[in-house]
């Protein structure tokens, strides 16, 4: 295996809606920044991979237009996933592992504001059984939270505590969309949005994106004083048939964590992509993270949730803490689909 590291991270200042910009205008400054931070040009990049969704853009082949922000002339080697940018990073990592590139630019972004996000996300469901019922993503997550409450895995107060802690942490995140939180008691006094979920249990709707540069070996050392080495990365998927699995668990997350080697060392920091409060509990369980592990110091997806970017941001947040020397070893997680159906886990480590 080649040593591959994250060497540069940039993201938008996340907002509920960015109506004055189209997608390419929104993501271009992030791509420019992620390259300028390491004094690189697109000609220094061996592979470019993006994650986005036409369903969010409301436009076919929207990602092709966003390539205008990269500078694809002379022609570049390029790919796209209709997934979170974390999976685009996985593809780029494979490209480097297979020796076809030494460096890669990865980005993930969306404008969720033009559409009705919970309804748009229902199109991820199978077209025969669940899809025609149009269950929205919040209602689906509500079923999961209810199942956990019924099993005694969590309480509504603990869910509110997760929301409070995440959004309080986000106060120190300059890119966060939702910063600060009323007290847990005040949160619990609010009405339900989709019983048993209250508004604070749900990630905000966000327009935004993230870009990352990864590089192999000496190139990584050249571009960063303390690269965030990807020591393990794996992704797994559970059945799309929610009736066929225990929705209070995410076995694919446990398996990805095992393959990525999460338990092989101390975890200083973990960034988990949990768009609903109760899902953080599931992920802590599946990844085997103890209460001593600092989770989502950035505020996580509850502070800003640009679909197709939120998972890549988790990798970026962990990498930034390692590159800054604030953490030695960290875990990043991304999710896709409903109810933590598909999960990616990466272990990042500093040089020492």
């Amino acid at each position: 295996m080649r040593d591959v590291a994250i060497v540069s991270v940039a993201q938008t200042d996340h907002r509920r809606a960015v109506p004055e910009l189209n997608e390419v205008e929104m993501i271009q400054p992030v791509i420019q920044t992620v390259l300028e931070q390491i004094d690189a040009k697109i000609s220094d990049i061996g592979f470019t991979c993006s994650g986005s969704s036409d369903y969010l853009a409301g436009q076919a082949f929207s990602f092709v237009m966003t390539l205008d922000a990269v500078g694809a002339w002379p022609p570049i080697v390029e790919s796209h996933v209709e997934m979170d940018g974390a999976w685009a990073l996985y593809e780029a990592w494979l490209k480097i592992q297979s020796g076809h590139a030494d460096t890669a630019l990865v980005y993930g972004y969306s404008k969720a504001s033009p559409g009705d996000l919970p309804r748009v996300l229902s199109r991820q469901l199978d077209p025969y059984y669940y899809g025609p019922l149009w269950p929205d993503s919040v209602a689906m997550a509500g079923l999961q939270a209810r199942a956990m409450l019924d099993k005694g895995m969590i309480t509504e107060a603990e869910m509110a505590e997760i929301a409070h802690r995440s959004r309080t942490s986000a106060e120190s995140n300059p890119h966060a969309q939702v910063k600060g939180s009323p007290s847990v008691d005040q949160l619990l006094a609010e009405d339900y949005l989709s019983n048993p979920l209250r508004k604070h249990d749900c990630a905000p709707v966000t327009d935004g994106g993230c870009a990352v540069v990864i590089a192999a070996g000496d190139r990584a050392r050249e571009w960063a004083d303390n690269p965030a080495w990807i020591r393990g990365i794996d992704h797994r998927v559970d059945s799309h048939n929610f009736g066929a699995r225990d929705i209070t668990r995410a076995p694919s997350a446990a398996l990805a964590a095992e393959k990525a080697g999460v338990s092989d060392g101390q975890v200083d920091v973990a960034e988990l992509c949990a768009p609903f409060t109760h899902q953080e509990r599931i992920l802590r369980n599946e990844l085997g993270l103890g209460d001593d592990v600092e989770v989502n110091p950035s505020g996580g997806a509850l502070a800003a949730n640009p679909i197709m970017g939120a998972g890549l941001i988790r990798l970026g947040e962990v990498a930034n803490r390692i590159m800054a020397g604030d953490a030695g070893r960290g875990v990043a997680h991304a999710t896709s689909g409903h109810l933590l159906q598909q999960n990616l886990v990466a272990v990042l480590e500093g040089s020492s």
Binding site: Q28, D68, G71, A72, G115, S239, P251
Partner: protein, 192 residues
Amino acid sequence: MAESDMEDRSTSTMPGGLWTQPSVSVPDIGDGEVIQRITEPASLHYSYTPGRAPTRFLRGLAEGKLLGGRAEGHDAVYPGSRGMDPVAARPTVESVEVGPDATVTAFCIVHIGFGEKAPPTPFVSALILPDGAAASMYGTVLGIPYEEVRIGMRVRPVWVPEEELGLTSENITHWEPTGEPDVPAEQLKGHM
């Protein structure tokens, strides 16, 4: 069906008990009519905003002007830009009027039209390079038999009446020949 298909079975490589395949059973549905096809209507609604550069372009069109975008410190002007100089990968922050006279750089003869405003087939859909622009834009070429359209042919836009101008690309109904001599193909290198 094999006997093993009828049993609840664990899937290999998966943690014990978490993934099991339920046994296969086919319910008896009697002699009722077999439903082979259903229709499920589906729709999603978007409130789309064009962004900064396309907004400038559309406002230009509303004034009967063809605008392009230019990035700071770069020469190329992109008509109807999405907002980027795609070679420099920088935003086109400056608006520059291009055309309206232009040159056909590529075309196809359309035999199957679609949309309420499609002209009678066959007609020509072309890539059209406005004077002063670095890239072509799509347009319909009318006012000449379709078999006489050629690369290098000079054309100009035909606009809707001034009182009908709006924030739409439909302001230009089509392009028609100017009658000027053709531009030699060598001069269109890089634009075809």
